[in-house]
């Protein structure tokens, strides 16, 4: 038994608690569907897959490193300026993200525009700082940050998958691996102008609107809580 544990330890150099920090936010403690955090950006950028993926990466970066920074400083931050210090660290990291995107991925920068700044107010960042980083060691805070970032990212990707597919008929539009799945034109896999089965299909314009993201989120919550009964009535 202990030999199994030893070999497992060699494969996954993480304790059970650390694995929980990393994987819980993906389901049981999902920042969006359970903690009710990070909603605003989940609605705004999810009209297409590419900005959602970039946003998820940016947010994960900010949560992880602000968790790390605050956790390192946690015993030195004066009580009276606690919130301001947290915000300065967050704003600092977000500005770094913005300057970097503007220099190395300009088209994405233009698409995300005002929402990059809004990462500062993404409640997940502040929420995790208060709930975890202020009271826990740096490595674990960092992992908690990554875990929550991934949990947020997965929700974003699910929403934008449906919104882009049914709203525009494409996936990963804007990348070199764009998949034009269904639409009016010969460059689509299913060409509605010539296909006999799908001639009636037009893109669902509702999906393009942010309201659709709310509906999809409601559906995700419905699904998640019916599979995971302990989450019912939790929020």
């Amino acid at each position: 038994m202990s030999e199994m544990k030893e070999s497992k330890k060699a494969l996954f150099p993480m304790t059970k608690k650390e694995k929980r920090l990393l994987f819980d936010p993906l389901n049981d403690n999902n920042p969006v569907t359970v903690q009710v955090l990070g909603i605003c950006s989940a609605l705004a950028v999810t009209s297409m897959l590419l900005p959602s993926i970039v946003m998820a990466i940016a947010v994960t970066f900010v949560i992880a490193f602000s968790n790390l920074a605050i956790s390192l400083m946690r015993n030195y931050i004066p009580k009276q300026v606690r919130m301001i210090v947290q915000l300065v660290v967050i704003a600092f990291l977000v500005t770094i993200v913005e300057l970097t995107l503007k220099a190395y991925s300009y088209p994405v920068y233009k698409q995300l525009s005002v929402f990059i700044g809004l990462i500062i107010t993404n409640c997940i960042v502040m929420g995790r700082l208060e709930a975890f980083a202020m009271a826990n060691p740096p490595w674990q805070s960092f992992l908690d940050g990554i875990g929550n970032g991934l949990g947020y990212g997965i929700i974003l990707i699910i929403i934008s998958f449906f919104r882009e597919l049914f709203g525009r008929g494409t996936l990963l539009s804007g990348t070199p691996i764009e998949m034009k799945i269904i639409g009016a034109g010969s460059d689509f896999w299913i060409d509605t102008t010539t296909n006999s089965w799908f001639g009636w299909y037009t893109n669902n314009n509702l999906m393009v609107l942010p309201a659709a993201a709310l509906f999809i989120l409601g559906m995700i919550i419905w699904y998640q809580r019916s599979k995971n009964p302990k989450l019912v009535d939790i929020s």
Partner: protein
């Protein structure tokens, strides 16, 4: 005066921060369970927005822009300065509310300081910048936006209070149905998009 009212009405209804732009969702969904807490938070938001948007306008114009006192383009410090202003205002509001109405302070609990990270607050300041409002327009925008947020959260709270007596499937209860309602309200507000309130004033 007309321009002021125009922007006030536009930012409160036609371009409602919550229902048209979906900003400030987190506290909107979390605090909209009862009308009482919702209106308390809504009032606080009006106050914070009405003050931070004009102050941030002043900061942007006189400190950060190239024509400002410092004479350098410091716009990359925008996020940090804006958020510092917002955090200070919220701290102030928190202290005032605690003194003036301890009951409200207790019922709002953690959500009062959470106004600081309410995306609607920072978002409003950022919109003010990108739309290049002048000073009086930014005042109208701040107050109107806050008022719109107040209306939205109180309306939502009223609906959710009534919903308590409905027969909703268990997994959908609470947050799930709140999302769907917000989506429906958002769609309704989309119908108002593009209305220019000025038509009501000029009588055309």
């Amino acid at each position: 005066m007309e321009e002021f009212l125009n922007i006030f009405i536009k930012s409160a209804f036609v371009e409602n921060l919550v229902l048209s732009y979906f900003l400030g969702m987190c506290s909107y969904l979390a605090v909209s369970k009862t009308v009482k807490t919702a209106s308390g938070l809504g009032l606080a938001v009006i106050f914070v927005l009405g003050i931070t948007v004009p102050i941030n306008w002043l900061i942007n114009r006189y400190l950060l822009s190239e024509n400002g006192i410092l004479g350098m383009d410091l716009t990359f410090l925008r996020f940090i300065l804006f958020i510092a202003v917002i955090a200070s205002m919220v701290q102030l509001v928190e202290m005032v509310v605690e003194k003036v109405s301890p009951a409200l302070y207790n019922s709002l609990g953690i959500f009062l300081p959470l106004i600081t990270v309410n995306c609607a607050i920072l978002g409003a300041s950022l919109f003010m910048i990108s739309r290049e409002y002048d000073f009086s327009e930014s005042v109208a925008f701040g107050l109107g936006g806050g008022f719109g947020w107040f209306l939205a959260i109180v309306a939502m709270a009223a609906i959710r209070e009534k919903l308590k007596y409905s027969d909703i499937p268990a997994p959908l209860r609470g947050l799930g149905i709140a999302f769907i309602i917000t989506g429906l309200m958002g769609m309704a507000f989309m119908g108002m998009m593009g209305i220019d309130p000025a038509i009501f004033f000029s009588g055309k």
